[in-house]
């Protein structure tokens, strides 16, 4: 208690009572209210990127991440009864595109698209999300190739759509010049061609890769030489 304050005894009894009663009433009122329930609502239409930028007040990176958290809450585990696979995916893609436009460097929207929204057990929705990833990959291939590579794997293993997987793998291989692409991402096309039984095409591709001289890692060279021999052996047995 500072010297400027009078002792507690100076507070009239009625004021003590009023304070206690008001506090008790507040707590009782809130305790009697039901817990906030989850609503089963779909995503609202996304704001335009320009409007989102205006609302960001010059902080697009922070706003983009907050918008992702908001978008993320539209699922069963968040504040909504509706599951991911029940969302309107056309609307969802527009939201993701708007957020990506707000912060083009962020990987969050594409991570969510490729690893969460595309992995729902609904083929049409998976395809819609994979196409979204493909469209956005084309805008910045060097930074966004991991998500299209993942999309190629989903197309191959989940959708069993090898032509689609091949299209994505070719895009990763041809449109991205990122030096940090690992061997599997650069040579994904070979394995898809092999799965499609396009053995000659796969063989020619490995041969061209080896002849181009861009692969210098001894382990990579050994692996590709072994793969080439394996393909040639398989071709021989087919003939």
């Amino acid at each position: 208690m500072s010297a400027e304050e009078r002792p507690l005894a100076h507070v009239p009894r009625a004021v003590w009572l009023a304070l206690g009663a008001a506090l008790a009433a507040q707590i009782a009122w809130n305790a009697a209210r039901p817990a906030p329930g989850r609503a089963a609502t779909d995503l609202p239409p996304p704001p335009s990127p320009a409007l989102l930028r205006l609302a960001a007040l010059g902080e697009p990176q922070a706003a983009a991440r907050l918008a992702m958290l908001y978008l993320q809450s539209f699922d069963y585990g968040g504040t909504n009864e509706r599951r991911y696979r029940e969302l309107d995916y056309a609307r969802l893609a527009r939201w993701l595109a708007a957020i990506l436009e707000l912060d083009p460097h962020s990987q969050y929207p594409l991570f969510s698209a490729a690893r969460i929204y595309a992995e729902v057990p609904d083929e049409a929705r998976t395809r819609a999300m994979l196409e979204f990833v493909y469209r956005e990959f084309l805008r910045d291939p060097d930074r966004r190739w991991p998500w299209l590579a993942h999309a190629a794997l989903l197309a191959k293993h989940r959708l069993h759509d090898l032509p689609l997987a091949l299209r994505y793998a070719m895009a990763v291989e041809q449109k991205s010049a990122a030096s940090d692409r690992p061997l599997w991402a650069r040579q994904m096309r070979i394995f898809i061609l092999e799965d499609m039984n396009e053995l000659e095409a796969a063989r020619v591709m490995i041969r061209d890769l080896l002849r181009a001289g861009r692969i210098t890692d001894p382990a990579e060279l050994r692996f590709l030489n072994e793969k080439l021999k394996e393909l040639e052996a398989r071709q021989g047995s087919v003939r």
């Binding site: 205006l54 993320q72 962020s106």
Partner: protein
């Protein structure tokens, strides 16, 4: 030097008035908010923490400076302390610039304090630039709030005018982009709105181009451009200082 003495007293008043505690509270708030929201992030949790902490600290710094300037200046006005000071053998310019220098120093101290917690996540070079930029942004806010406080003479109008000025300056680029976007028609009203937005943009500082969280997250794209943007803030602070001096000399106190 009288102006330096005045500036020192302004800083001392802020120090004893609890500004350091408010700054510490802001750091705790920003850290807690960032840590809480990063718990629900699926990826980029480090970037999310950094972006939210930086955005929150920037807003807190500007708010604290504006409220400190407005409350201190208006208390002096209402208590007639300013009139007493003016009776001393000191020029009005010395009074005004001394006070302004003190508030600018408060903003710079806040900028330094607020960059310390961000050092956990951000690269030192980018953080130093961000902190310098925040110091200049606070200087612009201090100059604007001092101008509005002395001109309007009331706390709520002064803070409302400062907040309006700041928010408009931060969103001007987006407003211009919307006004000149492909959906804008060629009607007279639309053209007038575009012209008005452009006219306002000429008079306002480009706060959207400074103290960018992007620098902390992805590195500074060009130090020259960033330094030019910060230099433009210094120029604008000087403009506001001159406008405030003009108004203060005309005021009958």
């Amino acid at each position: 030097m009288p102006a330096a003495t005045l500036a020192r007293f302004v800083v001392l008043e802020a120090w004893r008035g609890g500004l350091p505690w408010l700054a510490a509270g802001s750091i705790v708030l920003a850290g807690a908010l960032a840590a809480f929201l990063s718990q629900v992030a699926l990826t980029e949790s480090r970037e999310l923490e950094l972006a939210l902490a930086a955005a929150t600290l920037r807003a807190c710094a500007v708010f604290l400076v504006a409220v400190q300037v407005a409350s201190s200046t208006l208390r002096e006005l209402n208590d007639k302390g300013l009139e007493l000071m003016l009776s001393l053998p000191l020029g009005r310019s010395t009074h005004y610039l001394g006070r302004l220098a003190g508030f600018v120093a408060c903003g710079a101290l806040l900028a330094v304090a607020f960059c310390a917690p961000l050092a956990l996540w951000a690269a030192p070079g980018a953080l130093a630039l961000w902190s310098a930029s925040l110091a200049f942004e606070c200087a612009v806010v201090a100059a604007a709030t001092l101008f509005f406080s002395i001109s309007l003479g009331q706390l709520v109008p002064a803070i409302a005018a400062s907040a309006g000025f700041y928010l408009l300056a931060r969103s001007m680029a987006a407003i211009q982009a919307i006004a000149g976007g492909p959906l804008a028609d060629a009607s007279f009203a639309s053209q007038a709105a575009r012209g008005l937005a452009s006219a306002f943009a000429l008079l306002l500082p480009r706060l959207d181009g400074v103290t960018r969280t992007e620098w902390l997250l992805y590195g500074v794209p060009g130090y020259g451009a960033a330094a030019a943007a910060i230099g433009a803030l210094a120029l604008y602070a000087a403009l506001l200082g001159a406008a405030g001096l003009f108004d203060f000399h005309r005021k009958s106190l």
